[in-house]
């Protein structure tokens, strides 16, 4: 299945705007990437795609490379010193590493680096030099990531306070390229409770203006004036990243060891077992169907066995096998330890039990769990949920007692460190946002809805409170005159590639400090509920799992 949404837009920009734009029939090219650009490229293009457009080999710029002097090179790189130095080095000696250079920067190249290129021999070999304005990872069709888990510390660690402004500038630029790529110039809003949201929103507004000067298409179109970009901090909803989720994708990433989106398992085929590695991404149609489903609904065994003899079905069959393994692995882990835990977690998160009775004695329900044989991190998650349930935090001696009962003194820093995100742990004042009443969950162990979903729905219905979510500047009105609009109305979409132009408005959510799978799922659910009128995109500095979240918290102080 062809990727849709963000992946399609970025894939199209890279394949057509970069690679195909310098294609010459009969001539192959080398493609040189650095770490970030390789991640971007890999998330939306396959080897076959770029082979079809004349690229025969992809090289990492930071590695020592053999010269291939008969071929020209495309450099798709970030405009940072390391990469620029490597580019210059390739053309320093009299024998050039490649025949010529076509340079594409992911975003704006700073003046000093640009001048450095101009001063060196490579300038003679450069046949193309462009800034493509794609400095983010299209992780899924409606999810983007800045692929930088280290920014969690830059934003929230008291040790790294001096890095904060630099982090804000870098993130702002990356988000501006997202808007640029989507031709959006949204109204920028931020969650008032946290200072970094305002700073970031302000910086983004500035960058959007700069980008719009070069890309007049940004914000054009009758509905685009309604597009919004919301900036929110991780501390705004500390429950979602910590709760055990029972939907397929969230559960798999939480319970199993999935690195770089690759699931490895042993097949028990005929004869000895073999190791298989499968990439979980949107090219796997079955994954796209299953990923947001509740594990109980993902009934893979019942799905028809395609026992046709034609070889082309063998790919589908192996996909079924993979997801069957994945589901079984999740369920095995769940049954082993988590059955009780999930029920307690849901009660704490909702403040009520499955039949709606308010929780009276939360301490009573969590103590047996804390004394049981579950992992330290699972205990910490329960304690955190207990504290959040208390809304205003708990007295310090209670916290000490809990840590003692649970026997998790080594990891107890995680709990106190979360205060750096603005969350209440030890008797503080701030409250979590009010929740919407919902009647749509059918599973006892899946009653919790991420807070961001409420925000998404309110924003779309124009009911999002302006005091809590102020606009950086007033929402833009269409500045072109009526006549100009109607003259262009029938035509403005014609020179655009089909994927890029959704004509409806977009709601883009950026969460500072990591986004959880349940929150990603909310973007799709809310989009579907608008019947295609709105498209909700969500993204963050990185995609987190409960484990990675707790690990990052540990390192904050």
């Amino acid at each position: 299945m062809a990727p849709s949404g963000l992946k399609a837009v970025v894939g199209d920009k890279i394949l057509n705007g970069v690679i195909k734009s310098v294609k010459k029939d009969g001539e192959w090219k080398v493609l040189i990437v650095d770490h970030m650009s390789m991640r971007i490229l890999s998330s939306c293009c396959k080897m076959s795609d770029i082979l079809a457009e004349g690229v025969t080999i992809v090289e990492d710029i930071s590695k020592r490379r053999e010269p291939i002097s008969s071929l020209e090179a495309i450099y798709l790189i970030t405009p940072e010193e390391k990469s620029v130095d490597a580019l210059i080095k390739d053309f320093k000696d009299s024998a050039f590493t490649y025949k010529a250079a076509h340079v594409f920067f992911t975003d704006t190249c700073p003046n000093e680096l640009f001048a450095k290129i101009g001063r060196s021999r490579v300038a003679k070999a450069v046949k193309t030099l462009k800034e493509i304005n794609v400095a983010f990872l299209p992780y899924e069709s409606q999810v983007f990531s800045l692929d930088d888990p280290s920014s969690f510390e830059s934003f929230y660690s008291p040790k790294k306070r001096d890095e904060r402004d630099k982090a804000i500038a870098s993130v702002a630029e990356q988000i501006a390229t997202l808007c640029d790529t989507l031709n959006e110039c949204p109204a920028v809003r931020y969650y008032k409770e946290s200072e970094e949201n305002l700073k970031l929103a302000d910086e983004i507004r500035r960058r959007l203006d700069a980008h719009k000067a070069d890309n007049l298409k940004m914000g054009e179109g009758p509905d685009k004036a309604r597009s919004q970009l919301l900036i929110v901090n991780r501390g705004f909803d500390p429950i979602s990243p910590v709760l055990h989720e029972l939907t397929f994708q969230a559960m798999a990433y939480d319970l199993l060891d999935i690195k770089q989106d690759i699931y490895s398992y042993q097949t028990t085929g005929i004869g000895n077992s073999k190791e298989r590695e499968v990439l979980l991404d949107e090219d796997d149609e079955l994954w796209v169907q299953l990923r947001h489903m509740h594990i109980a609904d993902a009934n893979i065994k019942d799905l028809s066995q395609m026992l046709k003899k034609m070889p082309q079905y063998q790919k589908e069959l192996s996909m079924y096998s993979t997801h069957l393994h994945l589901a079984e692995a999740c369920m095995n882990k769940f049954k082993a330890t988590l059955n009780n835990v999930c029920e307690v977690e849901q009660d704490l998160a909702m403040g009520a039990n499955a039949v709606g009775e308010p929780l009276k004695d939360a301490m009573k329900s969590i103590v047996p769990v804390l004394l049981s044989e579950i992992d330290a991190y699972d205990k910490i998650r329960i304690i955190l949920l207990y504290i959040f349930h208390k809304k205003k935090g708990i007295p310090e001696e209670n916290l000490t007692k809990l840590i003692q009962h649970a026997n998790i003194r080594d990891d107890s820093k995680i709990i106190t460190n979360i205060q750096n995100l603005g969350c209440n742990i030890i008797n503080a004042g701030k409250m979590l946002p009010e929740r919407k009443e919902r009647a749509d969950s059918t599973y006892q162990l899946s009653r919790w809805t991420p807070i961001i979903k409420d925000i998404m729905e309110n924003a779309i219905d124009d009911k999002l409170d302006r005091k809590q979510w102020p606009f950086i500047s007033e929402p833009a009105t269409i500045t072109t005159t009526q006549t100009a609009v109607s003259a262009r109305f029938g035509h403005w979409h014609k020179n655009r590639s089909p994927t890029e132009h959704r004509s409806g408005p977009r709601l883009i959510i950026f969460m500072i400090g990591g986004v959880s799978h349940s929150e990603m799922r909310s973007a799709y659910e809310v989009t579907r509920a608008t019947d295609g009128k709105w498209e909700v995109l969500i993204g963050s500095t990185h995609i987190l799992t409960p484990t990675s979240f707790l690990n990052d918290l540990k390192k904050l102080e």
């Binding site: 990492d60 025949k99 704006t108 021999r121 450069v126 085929g269 990439l279 003899k309």
Partner: protein, 283 residues
């Protein structure tokens, strides 16, 4: 996108005392050592690519011929190639390309032994081999689709003609007929041009279906071989991040060499190939 080439030209300065003239002539020099291995790989790849294109052309021709045979009311006069000839050519070409691909893989292996696994010519050979294997598989699917479409068209035609003859035919009877069972329908008293024409059509459709089945049968093995070819390489080759990361840094000492060897063995496609549900392998 922002084009900054003009900006670069404005900023450009002569470096290290070279004059513009000298710098220009430097960059226009022929590369010191043309890499014959690399040229060989790319030429070989191009040959295979052209052959695959030929197969695609054959498939297009077959589509035309199939269409003509159903939509003409009189017997075709054989001026161009008929479907059996084209089918045989496709089979022959497919098998030849498969052979060439095996040879290309052998060449890659030989280059790898001589120049090491991270050598660009070797890696280029690997990606070309992968790309062409997929292209061959795609073209075989395309052939299969063409024949299957024709099959359905013939069946529809038979059904219609049977109605003309006054005898409706069920799916099972249709399937039986395609396996060569005779149709015992035609009463002697049925006469007339329409009936006669319909009967002729029916006979030729039945004949065609039988020939089609034969063609498909004979190409089964080629299908299987191509499937194995692609499966052997694994899906991981498509992932760009993995391709880039697997290209190891130039070997510096013995320990790194050992590391490379064990990594490449782990990636040995034969060791990671079949999951238990590979249907054809076990049928």
């Amino acid at each position: 996108m922002r084009d900054r080439l003009q900006h670069l030209h404005r900023v450009k300065t002569d470096s290290e005392g070279f004059s513009t003239v000298e710098l220009n002539s430097l960059s226009e020099l022929e590369p010191a050592d043309p890499d014959q291995d690399l040229d060989g790989v790319l030429n070989e790849a191009q040959q295979i690519r052209l052959e695959i294109q030929q197969i695609q052309n054959d498939i297009s021709e077959l589509q035309d011929v199939n269409y003509q045979t159903i939509n003409r009311t009189s017997f075709p006069s054989v001026t161009k190639r008929d479907s059996n000839t084209i089918g045989a050519d496709i089979k022959r070409r497919g098998e030849a390309v498969l052979q060439q691909l095996h040879l290309m893989n052998d060449l890659r292996g030989e280059l790898e032994a001589r120049r090491g696994p991270s050598d660009p010519a070797v890696r280029i050979a690997r990606t070309q081999y992968h790309c062409l294997s997929n292209a061959l598989r795609e073209v075989m699917f395309s052939y299969n689709d063409t024949e299957m479409s024709h099959r359905e068209a013939c069946k529809r035609h038979i059904k219609r003609q049977m109605e003309v003859v006054g005898r409706e035919i069920s799916e099972e009877e249709l399937e039986e007929m395609m396996e060569g069972e005779e149709l015992c329908v035609f009463s002697v008293h049925m006469e007339g041009k329409t009936i006669h024409s319909a009967l002729m059509q029916l006979q030729s459709r039945q004949q065609e279906l039988l020939e089609l089945e034969t063609r498909i049968q004979s190409i089964q093995e080629l299908f299987l071989d191509v499937a194995v070819l692609v499966e052997e390489q694994g899906a991981a080759v498509e992932n760009i991040e993995q391709s880039v990361q697997k290209a190891e840094v130039i070997v510096h000492d013995g320990t790194t060499q050992l590391e490379n060897a064990s990594t490449s063995d782990k990636n040995n496609p034969l060791k990671r190939m079949f999951c238990g549900c590979f249907p054809c392998y076990h049928s």
